[in-house]
């Protein structure tokens, strides 16, 4: 499969481990990705300032995808996936917005195409590549690993928009983990938010939210937390130490991106999965692999 790839801002500017591991594993699973011609914002932070401008940015991403000539667009960041999906829904349902947006796109010689399918890494792997294909490619089953999955908020909610998985009982990421031979457990806080959006205005509260979830997951005695969004990765992994401070806990929970975990099961060299960049104590997890 050949698809356009939109990385968003966070992955390109700091969450390099996600990009490194995603490029690596997608290639090995037969997914050829084509970067868009520009590195551009999806509109997420702009939303709070001017909703129309954000819709324009989201649609612009789809127009850039259109320019690649491909009909599939992979969006590995949950927030980008939501903003672009809502932008597409609004443009399709509101003629005035559509007209305005298309007019602006035209000024740059860009064209919107409604047929572009928006994927996230999770449903791309689960529904398009398929669990069977992944299982066959697994060279080093992650037996004995007990993990907790954190799918995130904006690719599950809200159901009416058509999201990546069921909002109340998401199973795809758990299935993807199980296919690698590991166990993914159910837990009460599974659907709780990492708090990343609050870093724009209430940093301590954001860290506190992340810290509370990390504390709860750590108490489950799992070997690690698996994420699939760079904002969640930033909160749980990069800022784990800061988060620990806000909730008065000693946190030492390995946090990895699913693409990194998948890479491990495919027996890819750890350096090639950006595992040296994770800030959380991933050695604890790696020693069990």
């Amino acid at each position: 499969m050949k698809a356009a790839m939109f990385w968003g801002c966070r992955i390109l500017t700091s969450q390099y481990a996600y990009e490194i591991s995603a490029r690596e594993v997608l290639a090995r699973l037969g997914v050829e990705i084509v970067d868009l011609s520009e590195a551009i914002c999806c509109g997420d932070p702009v939303r709070s300032v001017n909703d129309f401008a954000a819709t324009f940015l989201g649609t612009r991403v789809l127009a850039l995808a259109n320019a690649t000539g491909l009909y599939d667009l992979i969006v590995p960041c949950n927030r980008c996936h939501f903003v672009i999906s809502e932008a597409k829904r609004l443009v399709e349902s509101d003629a005035d917005t559509k007209q305005q947006v298309i007019g602006l796109l035209k000024e740059e010689g860009l064209e919107y195409n409604a047929r572009i399918k928006i994927w996230h890494v999770i449903d791309l792997l689960h529904d398009s590549v398929g669990l069977g294909t992944i299982k066959k490619a697994v060279a080093k089953p992650l037996k004995g690993l007990r993990l907790a999955s954190h799918v995130g908020c904006q690719i599950l909610r809200y159901s009416d928009l058509g999201r990546v998985d069921d909002a109340e009982n998401p199973k795809k990421l758990d299935d993807l983990i199980a296919t690698l031979g590991a166990e993914s457990i159910d837990y009460n806080e599974k659907l709780d938010c990492c708090g990343s959006h609050l870093t724009y205005s209430h940093v301590d509260s954001a860290l506190s939210l992340a810290g509370s979830k990390l504390k709860a997951v750590q108490a489950l005695g799992v070997d690690g937390l698996v994420v699939s969004c760079p904002d969640c990765g930033m909160m749980f992994d990069t800022k784990q130490k800061d988060a620990a401070g806000t909730v008065g806990a000693r946190l030492g929970l390995p946090v990895v991106y699913y693409t990194q975990l998948l890479g491990l099961a495919l027996d890819v060299d750890q350096q090639k999965l950006g595992l040296h960049l994770n800030q959380s104590p991933v050695e604890q997890l790696l020693s069990k692999v």
Binding site: S159, E168, N169, N188, E189, L191
Partner: protein
Amino acid sequence: MPKIGVYVCHCGLNIAGVVDVEKATEYAKGLPDVVVAKHYTYMCSGPGQRMIQKDIRGNKLDRIVIATCSPRMHEETFRKAIAEAGLNPYLVEIVNLREHVSWPHAHEPQQATEKAKALIRMGVARVRLLESLEKHRVSVERSVLVVGGGIAGIQASLDLANAGFKVCLVEKAPSIGGRMAQLDKTFPTLDCSACILTPKMVDVGKHPNITLVTNGEVLDVKGFVGNYEVSVAKRPRFVDETRCVGCELCTQVCPVKVPDGFNEGMSQTRAISIYSSHAVPKVAIVDPRCCLRLKTKRKEVCGKCAQVCEAKAIDFEQQPETLQLKVGGIIIAVGSEVFDASQMPETGYRRFPNVISSIEFERISDTAGPTGGKILSPKSGQPPKSIVFVQCVGSRDRRFHEYCCRIGCMVSLKQAILAREKMGQGVSIYVCYNDVRSFGKGYEEFYRRARDLDINFVAGIPSDVRGSPDGSLYFDVFERGTNKLLEMHAGLVVLANGLVPNSDLSRINELFHASRSADGFLLEAHPKLRPLESSTAGIFLAGACQGPKDIPDTVAQASGAAAKAIDLLLSGEIELEPLKAIVDNDLCSGCRVCESLCPFVAIEMKRDGEALRAEVIEVMCQGCGLCSAACPTGAVRIQQYESKQVLAQVRTACVGAMAGGG
């Protein structure tokens, strides 16, 4: 030369407030053959009708046009009125000046008046060509099929049987009693449900006028009002109903354990068992999917039940039966189901064993239930220290069912009160609610009783319910009255599941041509004035299948439906409207297009020498007009809606438009 009378109704201000009724009447006077043209405030009233009758007699009028509200309102009234004056009731044309003129064009009175004139002109053109028609009488069966053996079906059956009608009551389950049999107590009196229900169940079982078919369902319905032909399938029990004495020895020796459906799967029974402790009929039934002998189809396997049965009632060879019935009317009383809360995983249902549904609580509370009537948390088997009820699960929710389930509040109040009475003050009881709808007789007082018993009402619904390893539950809820965020802990969470349409309803819909409303329940003929009749003549609705409701309303509706059926069938005859298709044999070429199109299977081909001619089965014909529209020779016409009549209206409408300059 016809003598036409035109009457324009003001309908109070409904029509006269928009249409200039005087101008319209003046205009009518000028139309050809119109001898009398009058207007009046309420044509349908006594004086209005008498005015028309006087003119019929005095002026020897032979055609009447009444320009008034929709014919659906008063066409029948006016037909009766002119019949009383000696004129054939089918020689009247109703012109709709309300729904077609004054209501839609309320802000354009001048144009509305022009339209009124045009419609009157069209009405006159048509009425000139109408012909006298006679209603035909058909004899009817004085028997009724009641589908569903819950309290609605039971009540309706008893009312009909006591009135001398023969009733066949068909119930899908092995026993009648329905949902009410599963309840512990009923609100607001806290009567023991079984105690008030079982005498009626026994009466049904014994009544000479009632044929009870349990473990059965309706397969097919043919015919028409007063003359339905129904086939009912009776699934085999593998036990002879005439021999079984209900001793339950068979159940004791059966080696196969199965979940007990009557107890909502919370306990186990055996592959051969009696459905419930007060089953009617009290006869055992074998589940062929679980019974070893029936599953394996091998005669040497098990058979322990047959060995101990002293009445020799067990019959592994029993075959399904089909009964053919002829009934005059049908009452649908198939009830409703409980919302399956596993569609809302955030409630914790099916995730955490101590989150239960309202019907599961009923079984727990019932002394004949899985815990002997003790309120126990399913996981630990211990009495909970706190119980929280969560309202509106699956109801008032546009993601699932928008309607209010009507009984959720009262059920939780009842269950909370029962819990308090059984467990004393040692347990904390909370109800998380949105509104408390205690609308009926004695209901508000019941709500106060709950508060007097220290049951706390938390004004707010939790977003999700979470579970601790020990099985207890916790969740946050923001309380509206205190503006506080409360963390609540519960040993038992009871969901107030709403009532939802029976999953069988799409089959019922097809079998009986009974339409469904937007909420999925069966549609009544008119929500205010005809709540007991379905969209099909002769088929009535009773109970929760028409909409969620409590027992008092169900019983009232059941008796009402029975009365409606009695009203229909008592005289032994009904009249049929003559607005039906009729075939001119001389024009019919026998092409059979009409036969293939008729949705009511009302056209038969009859041999006429060498040729085939279409013949309309009058009693089945609904006058829909499909045959007439399709007939290539014009042989089929619909009485009162013949081409010449309709075309006359069309022609005069166009002529008027051209003359008036469009």
